[in-house]
Symmetry: C3
Subunit: 378 residues, 3 copies
C-alpha cells in the first residue's frame, strides 16, 4: 500500500488535487471545445484504434511493468492510473496553448488526446525510478513539472529545429529516464527500515510485471508508428519495431542465463531488457530500409541493457566512495529499460539521417554529373 | 472454487444446464440462420472491432473486477464466463423473437451478437452483488429471468416510448445494479462460518481486480459509443467518456486518501469509483457538446461513488435496527459502482434532453418571430 | 524459475542462441527485404489488427495458459516469449525459402509475419506438453525441428494436395499436440524429487492461467478467420467460432461440476475444455452455414475434452502395466485442449467437404437433368 505518509499529507493531498482538478475544469470550460469534424467515420475508426493502443501501453503496460517488488505493486498500479489521468488533462491544455496561442479556443480531437497520452507516458516512466521514495503530492508536483518541461521541449524542437512530431516524441524515453533519475538523486533516501522486505521479488507480482511487459511488447509497434502519417513509413516502423523486439527478447533471455551463476533466467532482467529493442528502434524506425538493421539494433540494445546493468552494478559496488556522490537510486531499472536503449536509438537516428543526407547528396551529385555529361554530349 | 453446494446440486446442475443447452440448440436449429450480407469487408472490420471491445469488457473486465475477495476470486471469473456464454445465447434468441415476431427465421449478424453481449452484461453486473450467496443453479435461474426482463424492457421502451437503441441500453447499469440488490435481499443470508476469512482482501487478488478495472477503464469509450450510428455522436461519446473517466479516476483516488484515516488509498474504493465517471456519462454522452460538462459529471460521479458509500455505511452501522429490514447485501459494491452513477447519468440525460428541446423550441420561436417580422416587413 | 539446469548448460546456452541469432541476422541481411507496397493505408490497418490479434493469442494467451502449476508459472511465460520471438524469425525465413525458391530476395510483409506467428504457435502448444522436463537448449532444438517440419508439411500440402492456406494452418492444433506428446515420450522422465510440490495448483497462478484462457477465448475468432480472404467465409468463421466457444464454455463448466464428487468446478478442466469448441471448429468454420452446427461441434468438443480426459485417466491408473509403455507425460493437458478437439475438427471438415461435394454433384446432376429435359423439350 505504498510508503507511509506523514499525517499532514492527509489534509494536504485532497485539497491540492481537488483544487487542481477544479482549476483544470475551469480552464477547459473557458478555453476548449470539440472541433468540427471533416474526417469520415472510417478514419475515426483507424485513429481510435491507434489511440486505444497507446492507452493500453500507458495504463496497462507501464502500470503493471512496475509491480515486481512485493510491497510497491499495488501503489504502483494505482499511482500510474492517477498520474496518467492527471497528466493527459494537463498535456492536452499545455499542447493546445503552446501550439495555438492567440487562436481562440483549443480544438480537442482524437489526435490531440493521443499525443497527450503519449506525452503523459513520460511521467509514468519517470515514476518507475522513484517509486517507494515519494508520496502522492510529490508525484503530482513532478507530473506538473515534467509535463510542462516535455511539452515545452517538444514545442521548441518543432519550431526552431524543425523536427517533426515523431522524432520529438521518440526522445521521450531518454528524457523521462534521466528526469526520473535526477528527481531520484534530489530526493532524500527512504528510511532503511523494512527496506529488504520491500525490495523482495515474488513470483505472483513478478507475473503481473510480466503481464505489463508482454502488453508493452505486443503494442510497442503501435506506439512507434502512432505519429507517422505516410503509410510507407508507418509500415516500416511497425516491421522494424517488431523485428527489433523479437531479437532483443531472444538476446535478453540468453544473456540473462549467461550472467546468472546457475544459468537461470532472472525475472528482473526480462522485465527490463525485453523492451530495449523497441525503445532503441523508436526514433530511427521510419528510416530503416531492411529488417537486418532493426535486428542489429535490437541485438545491441538487448546486450547493452543487460550487460550495462551488470557492469554498472559491479562498478558501483566496488568503489562506493568515488561514485557515492552520484549513487543512483532506480527502483525499477528505468535506466536500463529506457535510458540506455533510448540513447542508442538517438545515436542510430543521427547516423542514419547523416547517411541519408550523404546518400541524397551523392545521388544529387551523380545526377548533376549526369546532367552535365548529357549537356556536354548535347 | 466458490461456496460448498448441497449434495443435490451435483446431480441437478449438469442436467439443468445440458437440458437448457440442448433446448437452445434446437431453437437455434429451427429458428435462426446467418443473414445474407450486403455490407462490405471494411465495415465488417469496424463492427468486428467494436464487438470485440464489448466482449473484452464483458469477459475480462467484469470477470476480473470481482476478484478482490480472496475466496471468491476463482469462482467469480469462472461464473462470469459461464453466465456470459449462456446469456449471449439466450439474448440473441430473445431479441430476435421480441423484435421480429412473425417474420420467419431470426437473422444473426455481428450487430445482433454485439447487442446480445451488451445485454448479457446486465447479468454479470448483478452477479457482483450476490456472489458468495448463490450456487450455479440459482445463477442460471437469475440469468434466464434477468435477460428476459431486460430484453422485454428494452423492447417496450423502443416500441412505446420510441427510445433509441443507445438510450435503452445505457440504463443497463441502473437496471442491473438494482436487480442484483433485489435478488440479494430475497436470498437468505449466507452462513456466517468463515465469513471473515472469505471477505478478506489480499494484494494479489486485488491486483487482478485492478486488471479488470483497467480493462473496463480503457474500453469503456467503446461500450458507450457502440450503439451510436451517427459518426459525430460517436466521436462525442468517445471523447466525453474518456474525459469523464479521467476526472473520476483523479477524484476517486484523492477522495479515497481523504477518507482513509492514514491518508492511504483504499483498493476497494478504486475498484468501485474509478469507473463511476464512465457509467454516469453513459446515457447522455452523445448529447454533451464540450469536455467540461463531461468532466463535471465525472467529478460528481467520483465524489458520490466514494462519499455515498461512506455515508451509507456509517448510517447503516449506526442504526441497524431501523435499516435492518432493508439491510443491503452487496458483495462487491455494485450499488456504488453502477447504481448511483447510473442514476446520476439518467438525471443528466433527462436534464440535457429537456434543455435541448427548450433550446430547439427557443430557436424555433425566434425563427418564427423572424419569419413573422420578415413577413411584416414585406 | 524452471528446472535446475546442468552446469554445462550455462556456457552452452548463450553460445548456441547468440550464434543462432547471428546466423539468422546474416540470412536476413542477404536474403530479405521489405517489399514494395501497393496496398493502401486502410488495408494495412485491417491486416495490422488481425496480425496483432494473433500476436496476443501467441504471446499472452498461450503464455499465460500454462501458468497454473505453481513452480512452472514463471518459466512458462518467459520460455513462451523466447520461443515465439525465435520461432517467428525462423518461420519467416523458412516460409520464404520454401515458397519462393529461386526468386531472389524474400519479400517481408505483414501477411508473411502473421503467418509466421501462427506457425510459431505450434511450438508454443507443444511446449505445454513438456514443460518441466526440458531446458532451454532442448526447447530451442525442438523449435528448429518443429518449425521446419510444420512449414514443410504446409508447403507439401499446398503444392501437392492443393489445400489452401486456411486448412493447412488449422491442422496446427493436432500437429502441435501430438508433436509435443511424442517429444514428451522420447525425453526421460524428470526426477521425482519435489514432484508433488511442483505439480500443485494454486489460486493465484490459476487466475493467471484463466487470464490466458480468457484471452484465447476472446481472440480465437480472429485466429480462425485470419487466413480467410473471402469476406463471406470470414464472417462465417467469426460467427461459428464464437458460437462454438460459447457452447463449449457452458458445456465444459457444467461437465466439470458433474464429474467432481462435490459438484465443484475444477480449474484445470476449465483451462482445458473452454477452448475445445474453438479448436474443433477451426478447420471447418468457413463451411458451416448455420449456428446450430457450430454449436453441436462445440457441445461435442466440450464433452470429449472433459469426458475423454476423465476416462483416459481412469484407464491409465487402473492398468498401469499395460499402458505403461506408452504412459503419456502431458504437463498441461495439451492432448485434451488441442489434440482431441483438433481431431474432431478434422473429421468434421472432411465430412462437410464430402457433403458439399455430394451436394454440388447432386445439384450438378439435377442441373444436367434439367438441361437434358430442356434440350428434349426443345
Amino acid at each position: 500500500m505504498g510508503s507511509k505518509y506523514q499525517q499532514s499529507v492527509r489534509g494536504c493531498l485532497p485539497l491540492w488535487i481537488l483544487m487542481l482538478e477544479l482549476i483544470l475544469l475551469l480552464v477547459f470550460f473557458f478555453f476548449t471545445s470539440y472541433g468540427t469534424y471533416s474526417k469520415d467515420q472510417k478514419e475515426l475508426l483507424g485513429t481510435y484504434r491507434g489511440f486505444q493502443d497507446v492507452v493500453i501501453i500507458a495504463a496497462l503496460g507501464l502500470g503493471f511493468l512496475n509491480t515486481s517488488l512485493r510491497r510497491h505493486c499495488w501503489s504502483s498500479v494505482a499511482f500510474n492510473l492517477f498520474l496518467l489521468a492527471l497528466g493527459v488533462q494537463l498535456t492536452v491544455l499545455l499542447d493546445g496553448f503552446l501550439n495555438h496561442i492567440f487562436f481562440g479556443k483549443i480544438n480537442i480531437n482524437l489526435t490531440s488526446i493521443q499525443r497527450a497520452t503519449m506525452s503523459a507516458t513520460s511521467v509514468l516512466i519517470s515514476a518507475g525510478a522513484i517509486l517507494g521514495k515519494v508520496n502522492l503530492v510529490q508525484l503530482v508536483f513532478m507530473t506538473v513539472t515534467e509535463v510542462t518541461a516535455f511539452s515545452t521541449t517538444r514545442m521548441v524542437a518543432k519550431r526552431f529545429l524543425e523536427a517533426d512530431n515523431h522524432v520529438t516524441m521518440m526522445y521521450i524515453h531518454v528524457f523521462a529516464a534521466y528526469f526520473g533519475l535526477t528527481v531520484g538523486c534530489c530526493l532524500p533516501r527512504p528510511l532503511p527500515t523494512g527496506g529488504k522486505e520491500k525490495d523482495q521479488t515474488a513470483t505472483s507480482p513478478s507475473l503481473f510485471a510480466m503481464l505489463g511487459t508482454l502488453f508493452l511488447w505486443m503494442f510497442w509497434p503501435s506506439f512507434n508508428s502512432a505519429l507517422l502519417t505516410i503509410p510507407d513509413e508507418r509500415k516500416k516502423a511497425v516491421f522494424n519495431t517488431y523485428y527489433a523486439l523479437a531479437v532483443s527478447a531472444v538476446t535478453a533471455i540468453s544473456m540473462s542465463a549467461l550472467i546468472h551463476p546457475k544459468g537461470k533466467i532472472s525475472m528482473t532482467h526480462i522485465h527490463n531488457a525485453v523492451l530495449a529493442g523497441g525503445v532503441a528502434v523508436g526514433a530511427p524506425c521510419y528510416l530503416i530500409h531492411s529488417p537486418w538493421l532493426a535486428m542489429v539494433l535490437g541485438f545491441i540494445a538487448g546486450l547493452t541493457s543487460i550487460g550495462g546493468a551488470k557492469v554498472l552494478l559491479i562498478c558501483l559496488q566496488r568503489k562506493p566512495d568515488i561514485f557515492g556522490i552520484c549513487s543512483i537510486y532506480d527502483t525499477y531499472g528505468v535506466h536500463y529499460t529506457f535510458g540506455l536503449p533510448g540513447l542508442l536509438g538517438g545515436i542510430a537516428n543521427i547516423v542514419l539521417k547523416a547517411l541519408q543526407v550523404k546518400w541524397t547528396e551523392t545521388s544529387m551529385f551523380s545526377l548533376k554529373l549526369e546532367i552535365v555529361e548529357i549537356t556536354f554530349c548535347d
